[in-house]
Symmetry: C2
């Protein structure tokens, strides 16, 4: 029997493996994890991106251009229900240039996995910046 702890460890390990390669400029591990029906948000898109083919097209032009030297994956939590496992975490990415390390981005991240005969696959992904600097602090309560 697979326990909830096993599932949490497994999806966090999958996410770390994908992040490790992402930071080296290689989105292929993420692309291999995406289910065909993936739905995806990140801060640079005008609207939700739907489907594995659209994700391959989205990541093609940034392949080889991403560089993250180190990251802190903070407070990962897996909420499992049946054959789904929703992983959420905060992430801080760092680069080191000239011997000096600096944080380059801070993220809220949601990765919804589902179990398939081929292993866990991401069917929904949502990445956003923590406290982006805006002209209006909170437009709906201003």
């Amino acid at each position: 029997m697979t326990t909830a702890i096993d599932v949490a460890a497994e999806v966090i390990a999958l996410e770390r493996a994908a992040l490790d390669r992402w930071g080296q400029g290689d989105p292929s591990v993420y692309l291999a994890l995406f289910a065909d029906e993936i739905t995806y948000f990140d801060p640079a898109q005008e609207q939700r991106v739907d489907g594995a083919a659209a994700m391959a097209a989205l990541f093609a032009p940034i392949t080889g251009k991403i560089r993250v030297d180190r990251y802190d994956l903070l407070r990962p939590l897996v909420q499992q229900h049946g054959d789904t496992a929703l992983l959420s975490f905060n992430l801080v990415s760092y680069r080191t240039d000239g011997g000096r390390e600096r944080a380059i981005s801070s993220w809220n991240a949601t990765e919804a996995y589902r179990r398939t005969p081929q292993g866990w696959r991401i069917f929904h992904s949502h990445w956003s910046f923590i406290r982006p600097e805006l002209k209006d602090a909170n437009p709906e309560t201003a």
Copy 2:
């Protein structure tokens, strides 16, 4: 038997009911939808917010201060697996002042619902701005 179409219509209707009241300054419909174990991201928080009690504390100071006169809920999609239904959509909020309507915010939204004996409840929520204006356009590929 409940069909996938029924489930999608049901969770979208719940979300719209919560949004309608939110726009009137009342977060109570959202609070009533949150499962005890909710995990939550929005652009103003330093990290993930965990638990229904923390959400009540988060929304208390903005109660009565939110005003959205109209919204467009765009391309809602429900991905159902067993007793979970992950709703994702884009949202544009508007206010009308002096007879002139203007968009005040544009969102990526993820709402992960699970079926409970009391009805559908949100166990994970992620709200982020579409294309927030930043000092650095894309810090990881710069």
